[in-house]
């Protein structure tokens, strides 16, 4: 009985995303509660409920717009939307997914440069030392973004308060960490071929 009821249609775009993320996109009934509670919805080009709607259309143009949007980068993963969604739709996971797709397809919004740079600098720091080296992170970030003057005023104060470490801490297993980064990188490349 069961086999004949299974859906054998080729996967739609939203079906594909649902399969990859486990989030059933069509469950969203556009109530808007996510947008109402999202702390950054006001700054987003597409508030979370609209993101859901765009995914539901199965229209690749809309998906493309999302990959190029600021919304996916402005989302701070605060989980408020998921917490209050009547349908328990995991938007944060979708946001993670689209961020990674956006990077992979090199479609990132130019205005998101700062945010992405920060994340990248952050990961670089871990890659190199195994831990976050805040001073290094800031320097690296400034190099990437050219935001040389940002926060120059608080750095000395932080330093005085003992909040900025002048020298990075290297963990013993940092080679292991680098290996993790490498393995993942390798997997990715293989996956793409």
């Amino acid at each position: 009985m069961s086999a004949s009821h299974e859906n054998n249609h080729p996967l739609s775009l939203s079906g594909e995303i649902s399969k990859d993320t486990g989030v059933v996109i069509n469950k969203c009934y556009q109530c808007g509660k996510c947008s109402a509670g999202c702390p950054v919805a006001a700054e987003m080009d597409y508030p979370p409920s609209l993101v859901m709607r765009m995914l539901q259309t199965d229209d690749s143009n809309h998906y493309d717009k999302l990959l190029k949007s600021m919304s996916i980068w402005l989302c701070v993963s605060c989980e408020m939307c998921l917490t209050r969604c009547p349908m328990e739709i995991d938007i944060p996971t979708l946001m993670d997914y689209m961020r990674q797709k956006s990077l992979g397809a090199k479609k990132t919004n130019p205005q998101a440069k700062k945010i992405i740079s920060f994340h990248k600098s952050f990961l670089d720091s871990i890659n190199i030392t195994g831990r976050l080296y805040e001073m290094g992170l800031i320097v690296d970030y400034k190099m990437r973004t050219g935001a040389m003057m940002q926060d120059v005023l608080i750095a000395p104060k932080m330093f005085v308060k003992g909040k900025l470490n002048p020298v990075p801490e290297f963990i013993k297993g940092r080679k292991k960490i680098a290996a993790i980064f490498n393995n993942i990188q390798k997997d990715k490349k293989e996956g793409q071929q």
Partner: protein
Amino acid sequence: MSRIGVFVCHCGENISATVNCEKVAKITGELKGVEFSTDYKYMCSDPGQTLLKEAIKEHKLDGVVVAACSPRMHEPTFRKACAEAGLNPFLCEMSNIREHCSWVHPKDDLTTEKAEDLVRVMVEKVKKNKALKSIKVPVTKTALVIGGGIAGIQAALDIANCGHKVIMVEKLPSIGGHMSQLSETFPTLDCSQCILTPRMVEIAQHPNITLHTYSEVESVDGFIGNFKIKIRKKSKSLDEHLCTGCGLCTTKCPQKKIPNEFERGLGFRPAIYVPFPQAVPNKPVIDRENCTYYIKGKCKVCEIVCPTKAIRFDQEDEVIEVEAGAIVMATGFDVLKSDYFPEYGFGKYKDVIDGLQFERLASASGPTQGEIRRPSDGQVPKKIVFVACAGSRDPAKGIEYCSKICCMYTAKHAMLYKHKVHDGTPYVFYMDIRAGGKMYEEFVRRTIVEDGTHYVRGRVSTIYEKNGKLIVKGADTLMGGIPIEIEADMVVLATAGVANKGAEELAQTVHISYDSYKFFAEAHPKLKPVETNTAGIFLAGACQAPKDIPESVAAASGAAVKVAALFSNDELTRDPLVAVVNRQAAPVYSACVGCFLCQSVCPYQAIEREEIKSRSGEIIKTLARVNEGLCQGCGTCVALCRTKAIDIHGYSNQQVYTEIMALLND
């Protein structure tokens, strides 16, 4: 059985065009036990039936097979004809050689052979048929109505006006239900009390109706036509015959600050109280949990002031037993309360209220005499937000369904607000507007177009208090989901309609089924909406699912007609195609081993326990017994019984096996 008659019908040409009817008659006439066989042009016509009747008499037939159309069409016709000729109607069977044969196959030998097969099957089956008597059950022409809301009131009056007795049981001190709490009612804005109160009074005065308020059903035994019910009449601490309802006691009672349930906590009442001014009966009860005398052992002010000496502090609960032939469930619904909406601050902020509280504020007899004032400081709210679907359509919170009434009452609330606070601004946050009723959509449009209510399509995420205002954070999905914030003075949540708290237990007490939301379940969602799976028990109103007043009343009248139909005869006659548990001589008594698997699957609770006792009263064996009054003949129990102790008339194991063998072994 060996004198069977076979009658093959041509149905004009409908059958004979593809089936060789004469041949079928001839061949099956040769079957063992067939005494007579013939074919005829129209078996169901008068001459056809006469042919059948005469053959029965002439050939002393003890079994009849009519090979013709679908039994769903003419089985009753031929069974009746048999009965008229003196043959037990259940010894007549039909072979469907039209719908299942001549109409669906081409004219060839195979088709005729199939017709022969089909006749042979029935010939063999009818040999195993038993003469059965229709089941007759006496009927007690009294109805029990549980619940005295508008649905119960309507059902009780309709039944009573048909001339039958009605016993009404209401849990609270007064009948009236939720409708008595409403201000004005959509879609016409009738004053709720004005249309309800006369009917409440009618209940109290109707010679056919006995009303038990402050009472609950404790147990229900028996079956359709013959229920036995125990009712617990809770003590009112009052001799109702002496009390004149003067109300003096209620004004003198020193306990004055008890939150008033009827006002949904927006007002207070004393310990001895009448729930609301138009209550029926209009006599007080003492709330023992809050009465000083019951708590501390002294006070008795009410007793002292009562001019008729009606107070009875030592009165005890009374359990009475009544008999009824039918039961109408009309226990209504409730709305979600409590801490269910922490994100909306419900229960935390005084000015976040529910729909029923708003009804009380809008009601001319309510705590504010009908003025919309917010509970915290009595100010008139200038900006008010209504939140629809609060809890409904919210799988995360466990309620997936639409509560159906809230779209309409929210539109009504916005309209009433606007009529009372002309310079106020009402907002409604909604997901969809469900206004599918007569004049409903027009009503909602009026709220929007004429009264200028702002409808915002989006769900509210959170509400918090800031400097005496309620900040409502919502979104406008018609604007792409942009977040919006409203600084409101008051918020009304259209909280979900849910089943009553004790609904599940009550359903178990009266033996009816309920759905996963604990609303009572109808027998069929389309064609038996007021019946339950238990014969003789009917549903009225919002105990089945959230319903508005028109629907509740319609269902109640529907249930009343079902009851009246049931009461229209002194006895119930039912098809005897029911299950039976086999019985044998002692010491076996029955093949039944008392596993009661059958009981667990019967959709109609038709299987009972029967104890076989020795002379000394010792229980020797416990068996299953089918209550003929309840069994609907589905046969599920038969399929389940491992020892084949239970069987079903008309589709017995023997009959079915015979049919299979006859069909396959030609």
